[in-house]
């Protein structure tokens, strides 16, 4: 045994990591797949039902309507990131990268909300948007636009956009900082050549920098996709277990939580006696949704490794 390890010193370095990583990251995925084939609530009898949970999820009107609604909202969050947040991050990063006046101050204050926890971010936006004590409504009333004063956060159609505003306010800085890091790696020679040829400020961003930071942008978009599929806290803090009025801000991870852990399970009856079974079923569907996309990332990353 000792000579085995003496000859293979790497074993000692690998074993602790492999044990914990396997037990808490890899094994649970297979365990979830297995559990999704049972009808079980964690305490009572455990019956093997083959794929009936999946069939039920996709045929039961009540579950399916929640599923499509939550998936739609998650995809909306993803779309908002791709079409609004990422371009915004690129512009912000480029301004900081170009060392505009006060760029340090701007970078620090834009990043700072990252350290504010979700319930506080929600609280801050309530203070801004509340009907009675909200700053926005009081500004409207002050300038005589009483008609515009609304309980903003109570409008279901707007819920997801306000939630997205909060997510962006809290989290825009990380991606921006990633992009600044990537931009700093772009060689200055190419930029100078473009400058001498007369390429303007934005042309240099579009023609020289963007092509070279493509990998970081793709990476950010993939992170955004996984985030949209697993984001839980904003929906939960803003809308509770049900994800707001009529599920207006319900997302996939909250739907999963509600079925698997929701203590005041509104579904009741059949589902709450099958909380573990149906919960893991939803988790597995979610897993497939993430797997399909992020496999490309893994392949991309290990390809990058071969190139080295």
């Amino acid at each position: 045994m000792i000579t085995f390890i003496k000859r293979r010193p790497y074993v000692l370095f690998l074993v602790p990591g492999i044990i914990l990583y396997t037990a808490l990251i890899i094994y649970p995925i297979f365990s979830a797949m297995q559990l999704s084939l049972y009808e079980w609530n964690g305490i009572g009898p455990k019956t093997f039902v083959w794929i009936r949970n999946y069939v039920e999820l996709f045929t039961d009107d009540f579950l399916m309507s929640q599923f499509t609604n939550a998936l739609g909202n998650s995809l909306k969050l993803f779309a908002l990131t791709v079409f609004i947040q990422t371009p915004l991050q690129i512009i912000l990063a480029y301004m900081v990268y170009s060392k505009m006046k006060n760029h340090r101050l701007a970078q620090v204050t834009i990043f700072a909300p990252q350290f504010i926890s979700t319930p506080i971010i929600v609280f801050i936006f309530r203070l801004l948007l509340d009907d009675n004590v909200g700053v926005v409504n009081n500004l409207f009333r002050m300038i005589g636009l009483d008609a515009f004063a609304k309980p903003w956060l109570g409008v279901p159609e707007l819920g997801i956009f306000f939630m997205y505003l909060m997510i962006t306010w809290g989290g825009i800085g990380v991606g921006m900082t990633f992009l600044i890091g990537a931009m700093n790696m772009v060689s200055v020679d190419g930029l100078e050549a473009a400058y001498i040829e007369g390429a303007g400020f934005w042309t240099r961003l579009m023609k020289v920098i963007l092509p070279q930071i493509r990998a970081t942008i793709i990476n950010l978009i993939l992170i955004a996709y996984i985030y949209a599929m697993t984001m839980f806290d904003f929906s939960y803090v803003l809308g509770g277990n049900t994800g707001g009025v009529g599920g207006s801000i319900d997302v996939m991870a909250l739907f999963f939580y509600r079925i698997a852990f929701g203590d005041s399970n509104p579904v009741g009856g059949k589902i709450s006696s099958n909380s573990i079974g149906m919960g893991t079923t939803i988790a597995c569907v979610l897993f497939v949704l993430i797997f399909a996309i992020s496999l490309t990332q893994i392949l991309y990353m290990s390809k990058g490794e071969e190139d080295r």
Partner: protein, 276 residues
């Protein structure tokens, strides 16, 4: 090179960025000011100037609610998980990056796959495991969960160790240092810049974690900061004075730390992002 920052579009964007900066600072001041006001004062005269500022709200949060216990809870979880993930990821990465052996490719991919498995998806089995081990409602469970998500860190560090010149290792071995001492005293310190930037990213992530503590830490005395905050912000107007005070207490110390170390932190995150 930078003089065309004077172009109108760049100027407008810069103005917007500075307005946004001002907005963020104003929010902080607004929160701080209101945390010093009694509840009735805020509710009856929301935007007026207050005459009777007091620190009662803070006293209530600190003394009656034992604010620092929640702060300590969050901190213990962060510290524990950070140390565990640094230990695990640096040893695994060293094993994978430094040594040559069969099936190395397999193990590299094996550790990378974790990127596809966000903890939310596997939380039910993890919950069942921790229940069996009697670890529900303990910090150990949360620390183990956060500390085992090492995929990204292993990826970053493996590349670092693989690219270290082999001569460093050989010199240490000739000097008579064992495998583990070589790692602990020579190789790991060399990696510390990468470890630092990786730890910053991990720390930001863990500090803001909401989902896992919500499920695993059920008793009041074990709760983390975000969960305490939620107790007061949930019913907006009933407890708004405490909500202000707890928000300030939970945010300001971290922000001060961030501002002091901002250049290191931002640099670390920028570098971690490039390699990821």
């Amino acid at each position: 090179m930078h003089k065309d920052l004077r172009s109108p579009s760049a100027r407008i964007i810069r103005c917007i960025m500075l307005l946004f900066t001002g907005f963020n600072i104003a929010i902080l001041i607004y929160m701080f000011y209101n945390s010093l006001r009694p509840r009735t004062d805020f509710l009856t005269n929301t935007f007026g100037l207050s005459v009777n500022l007091t620190i009662d709200n803070f006293i209530k949060i600190v003394v009656k609610d034992g604010f620092f216990r929640y702060f300590l809870n969050s901190f213990l979880i962060l510290a524990g998980a950070l140390i565990l993930s640094i230990l695990l990821s640096s040893t695994v990465a060293y094993g994978l990056g430094h040594y040559k052996f069969r099936f190395k490719r397999f193990w590299k991919t094996y550790f990378l796959v974790g990127l596809m498995f966000p903890i939310q998806l596997s939380i039910v089995p993890v919950f069942l495991i921790t229940k069996q081990l009697n670890l529900i409602n303990t910090f150990t469970s949360v620390i183990l969960i956060f500390g085992s998500s090492i995929s990204m860190a292993v990826f970053l560090l493996t590349n670092f160790f693989a690219n270290l010149p082999h001569e460093i290792y050989e010199a240490a071995v000739i000097d008579g240092a064992g495998e583990f001492r070589t790692f602990a005293q020579i190789m790991f310190p060399l990696a510390s810049p990468v470890v630092f930037s990786m730890s910053i990213l991990t720390a930001v992530n863990i500090w803001n974690q909401f989902f896992v503590p919500l499920i695993f830490l059920q008793s009041d005395s074990k709760k983390t900061l975000p969960l305490l905050v939620m107790k007061y912000t949930k019913k907006l107007l009933m407890t708004i004075d405490s909500a202000f005070a707890v928000s300030i207490l939970a945010t300001v110390p971290i922000l001060i730390l961030f501002i002091i170390f901002s250049s290191e932190i931002l640099k670390g995150i920028a570098e971690g992002g490039v390699k990821g």
